[in-house]
Subunit: 369 residues, 4 copies
């Protein structure tokens, strides 16, 4: 009787979409490369890094050759690599635009880490560049691709919670190291808001399918803390959605790791706690009947992202979270910062249409457990 | 071998403080009278009600005689009842002031349900009346008397959570019946804010021991819903505390019952969920070491209130939550409503001193389980 | 606008069934009397106690007169009290039989605390006495009357869990006082088994609706501990049900309070934890879809018992847990003790019919929340 | 400012211990190889498989060359591979002995999956072979190497729970496929007991540090189910430990996935639920003060195993779970099956000494989070 190994039998690389990963940091090493290995639709075809030695070590470790490693200066050499159909930008925020534009010029599709840029104008320029070049642009909002977050959205939009009235989200953590680029305004474009607060903002919009009409915000930037010379330490924001629906959110770089989402309707409520980890998201839906926590077959959030974008490329569809979705969060974050600066409510422009105004083709979700 | 019954052996009534309960509603019937029965320091000596029949039925049911039942018109007859040393006002908010003043005139100490009045001026008048009459006034903030809420405060103030940065609280529920007095501005002085949102406000202040410096708020009052002709349906408010600490809160009369408090510091966090029920409060403290949920011997929140006020009377001490504490919540709620009306941040007056500015003698907590 | 008190408006006493409570201990004072006060179908009409003073204090406290208090010697005087239609026996186990028989002779229906007697013969004699006298006998198994335990039973019997294969239950607590009657063999008939282990045994049988075919047990009775001179400290038992279904159970008087039930089928499982408290029972049902915890409107377990027995008396039906149900637990506990003594598996007699062999009319459950 | 990638910088391979993985199934592919990649003390130097194609595919995928892949027939060629200091046997149970003996003859140290063999004699032969050859043998009991299980053991052995009285463990799951080798007696040596019930047995022994004195067991093997023609479907066992401590356990191949451990002492209790998953073990310790759930920095259970065995090799120490530990579980499982067959209690031989009778050098635990 033979052993029965359960090794994934991926599509041949010819049918899968080859990605160049641009930037080799912790996220690339610990999440993206492992995720790509198990993707049915994508694979890592090349690495782009500033440190050639590290790139080669990675290549050896992850089954690539030295020919697959490029320095930032050699980025344009990817143009000749037909197997590289897309790039995944995993660089500091302020570099996104440059590399998105360079990739678009080469005709490569682009998956770009969140936040899309450093402000709305910056992000819009990326959308424009990709549109002009006829390549697809997707903002890497992993939480819009998981069965847990879709189940939350379904609970909201199906009416299971009744009419939604108020929402609440927290995403805070401690950033200890004053030297990281995330604390430099030129690199990051802001503090915790564009890095982690953006999850609250993005998922509040996602579960409602609607856009806020106004914001109010207040931020705190303590004097004398070397970490917060340039960016805010903590920020609280309030969002006004259509029909009087209100949402509160908190983000901070100096508070014990907490990630939650709570949606309260007049028939029931839902809680995600934790709401945004790579693994271990927990959803609980409560109503008069009791509490329910759905479970799903194990999934890799980054693998689901890779799969969706690769499928959109193969099937020529607009991604669920295209560049426009990334721009819209920047429009709102710009308004949040303006409100924090002026102490005034800031009105937001009306979006084009009612639901999911900035989103594309729905992703295919993995099956139930 | 005898059976061992475990019947409380209360102090003789001579040593306990006799209360007249003013107003016989659900709270009086289901919570206050049972609580008083097990109190070591207090007992129910009289009932005041508008419906004499009901009062007499209650008297029969709860071990009093017809002589112990008074109509509202007969309220002043309590002056001759030496056994009635205190009154507990359990009437619609707008009637608090009248009955507090009438009680003070008779020289009776007053325990008054929250909110103390319908606005800060109204509440301050009660404080003044009691001061002038030389009687004690306590605002019935039950959550400031439980071991759970004190353990939360201790976690905050001991530094166990590190420096507190952001806080969050929710108190929402569905009010179905458009005819209740709680939805009439003249009786209630507001909607969910003074009824249930006040818990968030009050406990945020209690765990920090500090006072907010400014507020921002937004409210929703839907057109066409007969319940919300006079008062708000939902209200979101943001509080700015000293040193840049920020707190968000949500309250609503049309959202599935939820009561939470979350405090996040840079070393740890705490969650109360549910935070404000009569029974079943759950506290969880999290830090790098893990999660801890303290348990306590069973207690009756209303019994603890009765005990504290009775002890303050016997020992001539200021209650932990005197009238001033109730006034301060009104000052802030007035500012919240002003902000909601004007769309502007509203600054609050600086309180007199640093910690627990409006509080009196610390209550004695029940022992560990 | 009038206040809207929410006082229960019980049926007139004429239609309710009057009970005499026999034995005034902690259970009577803290649970039974409060429960009876809110029952729609029952009320306390008399008290029987060994200590006349205490009885009279209780009478005063609970709205009865001195005429409603009887000593054990005066028990037969209840015969003349037409308003006393039933007695509730809350005495040490070894006294149950005497008082059941004396009550039956007077033509009073009997609700008797668990365990019904001190062994199967003792319990059977009670059944026989009541049958002969034409009065009803109900064993007070409160957990067979709650919506939580019925929801567990429904999950098992509806096939929601698939075929049930294995079950597990724990009921342990610390008994500190070596002088209590529960530790005396003559009064109690055993140690933790008939007092708390009986919950595991009884609820395992209840959720399955079936009877065990064999038992194996092992007990521990430490030398030198004054508490366990006469009865076991801890006891483990295994039950074999039809179709190979197996259940494990643990009971102890020297282990930290734990009460659980776990039922595992091939499609899902359920957990009750805690399983047997007066308040706060929690049920969680798990399957491939996730976890569900039903909630129910608040209920009083003892009130539900009172109601059921009173309804059975009014409608002349057999109670859901008649004397026979109590006898059957004794038959099994006798076998458990025999197994513990001999170290051998003990076979049990086949019951008369398939499901719910020893049970009567289904109780009416309170509504959903 | 450079990116700060956080790539592990492992010891050079010269200092790490090279392992040959023998058998390429799901465990090897999904757990062992990823674990070895992040180990500081071990690495995968070779693969042994029956299917050369698969081996080569794996080699390519995991950074090895074709020269690193061996068929079972070529196993002895590892003798010449000095970089292969140890083998990890991941074969069906009945093949463990042959490969352990062949490895020992080559002078390779052996890490062997649980159960060590198919019965006590089989397992003892492996211990003897390794002893004779002067190589180390470790049984791969991953749960004896995690911070969670050590925290549970510490709670038990430190007296935090008081005197432990009763324990309870469940490990059940559904095995759907009638063709797997785990359901064939010749390959597996039993059913769920040696595969998953062994976790309960092993961890009960581990947390107590003591050995059972007797066992009782009952098993169910349904007629007509093609899965259970050779092995039991479900098995319940009871263990008697010194001083009257009793433990119950359930195992099954036809019950919804459940893995728990509960330990109850007279001062507190602990619950692990789930107790045995690769990830997400949860420990809760309860006592009069409340509940505490410790958290730990993320760890890889298989990585901890690799590390410990590699360290034992480098430092010439006896592993914490040597072959003897694996034999002892077989001695007890043999007795469990004998009890299930005979229906009698089976006494076990007294172990050599008091605590941790079959264990070696304590493992180094990873730090707190």
């Amino acid at each position: 009787m033979p052993l029965k190994p359960n090794i994934p039998d991926p599509k041949s690389e010819a049918r899968r979409v080859g990605f160049a990963l641009v930037g080799i940091g912790k996220l690339t090493a610990e999440e993206l490369i492992p995720a790509a290995r198990t993707s049915e639709d994508a694979y890592v075809a090349a690495l782009v890094t500033g440190e050639e030695d590290k790139g080669e070590a990675f290549a050896r470790a992850f089954d690539l050759t030295e020919e697959d490693v490029f320095t930032y200066d050699e980025f344009e050499k990817l143009a000749d690599r037909e197997d590289v159909e897309a790039v995944y930008i995993v660089l500091p925020n302020s570099l996104h635009r440059e590399y998105v534009e360079r990739a678009a010029k080469m005709g490569k599709h682009v998956l770009c880490e969140k936040p899309l840029g450093v402000n709305a104008d910056d992000a819009q320029a990326m959308v424009d560049a990709c549109q002009k070049a006829g390549v697809k642009l997707m903002t890497a909002y992993r939480c819009q691709y998981t069965p847990h977050h879709w189940a939350a959205r379904e609970a909201v939009q199906s009416g299971k919670l009744g009419d939604v009235k108020v929402l609440d989200s927290v995403h805070v953590q401690v950033e200890d190291d004053p030297t990281v680029w995330r604390l430099k305004m030129d690199y990051a474009g802001g503090g915790p808001l564009p890095d982690i607060g953006i999850y609250s903002l993005n998922i509040l919009r996602f579960v409602l399918g609607q856009e806020p009409e106004w914001v109010f915000a207040h931020q705190h930037q303590p004097k004398g803390d070397p970490r917060f010379k340039e960016v805010e330490e903590s920020l609280s924001f309030m969002l006004g959605f259509p029909d009087g629906v209100m949402a509160n959110a908190l983000t901070s770089y100096d508070a014990f790791k907490t990630t939650t989402l709570r949606v309260m309707g007049n028939k029931g409520s839902l809680l995600m706690d934790p709401a945004f980890p790579y693994q271990g998201v927990k959803l609980t839906i409560s109503d008069e009947e009791g509490e329910t926590s759905p479970t799903f077959a194990p999934y890799d959030q980054f693998g689901l992202e890779f799969d969706h974008f690769a499928q959109c490329i193969r099937q020529d569809r607009e991604p669920w979270t295209p560049g426009e979705e990334g721009v819209q969060d920047h429009v709102i974050m710009d308004a949040i910062y303006e409100s924090a600066r002026t102490g005034q409510v800031v009105k937001l422009p009306k979006p084009r249409k009612k639901l999911d105004a900035f989103r594309g083709a729905k992703p295919r979700l993995p099956g139930k457990k």
